[in-house]
Every structure is written in structure tokens, then in C-alpha cells.
Amino acid sequence: MRKDSIKGNATRREGKAADAVDAARSACDRLVEEQVRMMEEVARAWCPTLTAMCCRPSRNPSVGPAERLAEAFSGMAVIQLHDDPYELRMSDGSTVMIAEGKSGLTGMYVPGGGGDGRDAIHCATAGRQDGTHRRRHFTMLHEIGHMVQNRDRTLARRVRTQRIMDRHDFEERCCHMFASRCLLPDSLVGRYMAWPFSADDAVALYRHSFASRMAVAYRMAGLMPSPGSVTVRTTDGRVSMVAVSPWGDCVEEDGRWKETEDDVVRSRAQWFEVRCLHDGPQSGGAGNRMGDRPETMQGGGR
């Protein structure tokens, strides 16, 4: 089956379905996307090499985006990476555990927690899902997202005065999307993914990025222009998680197909399973969809 590029599809859909895309997006999605766009601008103003730091491969396998970002933002925050479960005492006397599987907490941003006008960011580095420590890169960027939204005047005001979403949910969702876009920018995604998406695309994107399998799954599912999903399985075949397209999945909860099975493109490679309705609605999905403006990588990188 001939694959069209994502941008080619986007161009063909633009004239006919742009209005439908806007209509389909919820006010929440628009608000989050606008906030994340502004976050990216602010973050790049603070750190012009942000994209390269998040995507450029390193000769030293133990140095990745988390380590680079910790150094780059050291003037604004005390950033600590914790290998072991770490108990953090808060200013109100309570304690929280920074570690996977304990309180569910993997990172924490503490405004002013670093002293001398600096914030504090703590990240747990223990690998969990894929055992390759990739989660810490996402966590670091997520916490930097909090710092951006609380240090920049415009972003801080927007977080506090928007009245569509719960404030914490809004801030968290923006941080998630910010981290996802930094690790998997449009330029990188467009290089390794083509519609209809396949599990091989997901594997390629995973191998050429610092994103975790979960992050790749969510990013791919978010870009699907039709119903579908991306499933991540563990090495022993158990389902680890499922990311569903904003248009829903191809199957009902009980496993029955929603549409004619022949219209669904299915593929499986290594940890990923992808299914998508190739002849479904031809509008772009909400959430993490690729914008029309291409990302440009700063500095080196592939």
C-alpha cells in the first residue's frame, strides 16, 4: 500500500477540512496547544539549543537530554537526578518520595526550592517500563515545563486565570505535551512516520529519539487522523499500555470491530502494535497533531 507523507495528506486536507478540524477541536485542546506553543517559545529563548539537546544523539550513552538540560538550566534551578528512591522533605514538613512505584511520583518542581532565587527540580532516574532510563528525559522536561509556566509572567498569568479547565490539570497537561514535543518534535516525527502509520514507524521513531515507548505511542496516536490505537507490549507479550486516537479506537471495549475489518491497517513490530482505520474520517485529529510550520533543529543532529 502506497504511503503518503503526513505533510502531503495535511496539504490535501487543508482546503476541505480545516474548518472541520477547528470545529472538532475542543476549547480545552486549543487552550493547551496555545499554551504549549508559547512554552516552547519561552523555553527556546532561555535555551536556544533546546531542540538539539533533546534530540541529538550522544557518544556517551549515559548522557542524554536529562543530563544536558540539568546543566543548561543550572542557573535557574538546582536540578538533582536521583538514582535511588529519594525522600524529599517539603517546606511544610511533609515528605514525599521521589521514585517510581512508591507514591507514583517521578519528579518534582519546587518554586524557590533551590535558594538564591533559584527553583529546584528533582527527578528519579530508576528505569521502569523499558529499563533504559528514558523516562527521566520526559520527567525532566515535564518539570522544566512547570518552571517555564511559573517563571514567565504571561504563562503564569494564563495558568491562573484560564477558566476552562482545572488549573492543575491544565498545567499538567501542558507539561506533558511540552515534554512530548521536545523529545519528539514535528521534524523528527515527520522523518520516521508516514500515513497510514505502522509499528515499524513507531520502532524507528523510538530508536531515533530519547523518548520512551509510552511517549512514542501517545505521540503517534495523537497524530492519527482517524480511529486507531497504538499498543505497547512488554518483552513477554503483556499489554503495557494503549494510546488511543482522538477519534477513538477501531474496536469496542469488548474487542468487536467498529468498522469493516478490511479497512483497518494493522501491524506489529517488537513492542508496538498499531491499528488505524485507513479509510476513516479524513480530518486531522485533536491533541498532538503536527502543525504546518516545520520545526528546525538547532545545532547538529540527524
Binding site: 509572567r153 484560564q162 477558566r163 476552562i164
Partner: protein, 302 residues
């Protein structure tokens, strides 16, 4: 020969609560595990509760309805003295009563009260009994005066008047509950007035962005000089309390009787509405933990 109780003795028994109830029934009701189970089940129609306010004024009530705002319930006060029953009022027989003694609903005093006043769950009435009571409308004032044998008893009249005053007081508290957040406005995602106030913290008071965040988030109060400066610049005094909107589901959860002990503990060391204060503490915890509001409230240590 058993001596007939005087009205005074009946009233004292009502105020003393459970003073002459069957020990077995009392033990069953107040058994810790049974109490904990009923507390966790939440508030719903058909339940019999002891109500107790901060001045230790108490009454039995039957929950008839949970309001559209779940922080408010419609209740009918219940008396364990069947002599207090209105003419032709259905009386709950002892065998159907969770207390093991007959209960008389005082339907003329049916009304609303904040759910936070519910103190001890005593058990449920069956559906048919509940339906019978809920359907009953109290007779007109004249009929009560003619048919109520107890009306001639000044002690019964006094206890009825006391109970009427209590219900009036408790009903009035419904209007003083913390305001629920405004409904989302997708056409106008930002509150312009709040945005202007945020900017004034920086432009008028010269605060940094983190300092403005602390004030806006309610973590630091304005001093008198700062308040006057903002008022001089055009801010309205009532806007300077910065009671940012807490999520509706948190405001509802913290009012539930399950958290009464924590609310009372919080009230002993903090001024102001203890439910609102506890909700704010929990909301801060929200940024550091996963789970429902119930989970987070459970983790709070006061």
C-alpha cells in the same frame, strides 16, 4: 408496675441520646468497623444519622435527598419519642428502626442542612418505610394543635421549639458554604478581571513573578500597605482575598462526614472555614501525589 415517663423525662432522654436504648442495638450501631463501613459508603437517602454541630447540639435526622449541590442534604428530624409524632404521621416501628426503638419523623421541620453536620451514621431504613415518610406532608398548623396530645405538654413544646430553632440555624448555614467554581466559559477562556489583578501585583507592588504567584495562590497574604496600594490603583477590596477556585469535586469531598475528624482537628489550629482550609491543603498536595481527592485527603496529616 412500669412507671409512665413524664414529658420532662422524655425530653431529657432525647437530649441524652440513646440513654435508654437497647444495649445490643447500640453496640451494633457503634461498632468501629460497622461505623467505618457506613462512613465509607457515603451519604445517601434512607440513612439515619446523628447530627452534631460545633456547640455540641445534636439531633437524629433521616436523609431524604442529596441536593443538586451534594454538600447540602434534605433531612427530616427524627424523635425516639413516638409521643412527639404529628397526627397521622407514620411512625417507624422498633423492629424496622436501626436504633431498635420506634422513631417518629417530625416532618413539619423537614429542611436542608450542610452535609458536614452529619456526625454518626446509624443505619438505613428500608425502601418502603423511607418512601412512606418521604411522601408524607405535615398537617396544617390547626390540625396539629387539635390532635397532638403532646401539644399540651410544655416540655414537649419546648423541645419542639428548640428543634425548630436548630433546623433554622442549620438551614441558614447552607448559604455560607464556600462558593463553587464558576462554570467553564469556552468563548472567553480567561478571566480578564483576574488577569488584570495578577498584573497589578507585578506592576503596582513590584513583585517578581514567583512572588506574585505566591500571593495569587493564597500562599502569602498581602500586608496592609500592599492592599492599600492595590486599592488605590483600582483593585476592589473583595478581590484581594485571592480565594482561587478549588475544584468542585474537592469542595464536595471535603464536606463529607468521612473527614469530620480531620476537619475538627484542622479547626483547632486554623482560623476560618476548616473545610475550605483543609481543601486548600489537599489541593497543594495534589501537585505532588496521584489518586483521587479521597486518597489525598486520607494522606493529609493534621
Amino acid at each position: 408496675m412500669a412507671r409512665h415517663m413524664t414529658a420532662k423525662e422524655r425530653v431529657e432522654a432525647l437530649r441524652g441520646q440513646c440513654a435508654y436504648h437497647e444495649p445490643a442495638a447500640l453496640r451494633r450501631i457503634t461498632y468501629p468497623q460497622a461505623l467505618a463501613r457506613r462512613m465509607n459508603e457515603g451519604v445517601r437517602p434512607g440513612q439515619l444519622w446523628v447530627v452534631k454541630d460545633e456547640r455540641s447540639r445534636m439531633a437524629y435526622v433521616l436523609v431524604e435527598r442529596v441536593g443538586h449541590d451534594p454538600r447540602v442534604v434534605t433531612v427530616t428530624p427524627m424523635s425516639d419519642d413516638p409521643g412527639m409524632a404529628m397526627p397521622r404521621t407514620p411512625v417507624v416501628e422498633a423492629r424496622k428502626s436501626p436504633l431498635g426503638v420506634a422513631l417518629a419523623p417530625i416532618t413539619a421541620l423537614r429542611g436542608e442542612m450542610p452535609v458536614r453536620l452529619l456526625c454518626t451514621p446509624l443505619g438505613d431504613l428500608d425502601d418502603s418505610t423511607m418512601a412512606c415518610i418521604a411522601r408524607f406532608s405535615p398537617p396544617a398548623e390547626g390540625a396539629r394543635a387539635e390532635d397532638g396530645a403532646w401539644i399540651d405538654d410544655p416540655m414537649s413544646l419546648a423541645s419542639y421549639a428548640d428543634l425548630a430553632d436548630l433546623m433554622d440555624d442549620w438551614r441558614g448555614r447552607c448559604t455560607r458554604l464556600p462558593p463553587m467554581p464558576k462554570a467553564p466559559d469556552c468563548d472567553s477562556p480567561f478571566d480578564e478581571r483576574d488577569a488584570a489583578l495578577y498584573d497589578m501585583l507585578i506592576d503596582v507592588l513590584g513583585l517578581t513573578v514567583p512572588q506574585a504567584n505566591e500571593v495569587y495562590d493564597g500562599k502569602r497574604a498581602l500586608d496592609e500597605r500592599e492592599r492599600l496600594a492595590l486599592i488605590a490603583a483600582g483593585a476592589h477590596p473583595r478581590d484581594l482575598d485571592f480565594t482561587f477556585a478549588l475544584p468542585a469535586d474537592l469542595l464536595i469531598e471535603v464536606e463529607q462526614p468521612l473527614w469530620r475528624d480531620k476537619v475538627e482537628a484542622f479547626a483547632r489550629t486554623h482560623a476560618g472555614d476548616p473545610c475550605l482550609g483543609l481543601a486548600r491543603e489537599c489541593y497543594t498536595l495534589h501537585a505532588r501525589t496521584k489518586g483521587t481527592w479521597r486518597d489525598r485527603l486520607g494522606k493529609l496529616e493534621i
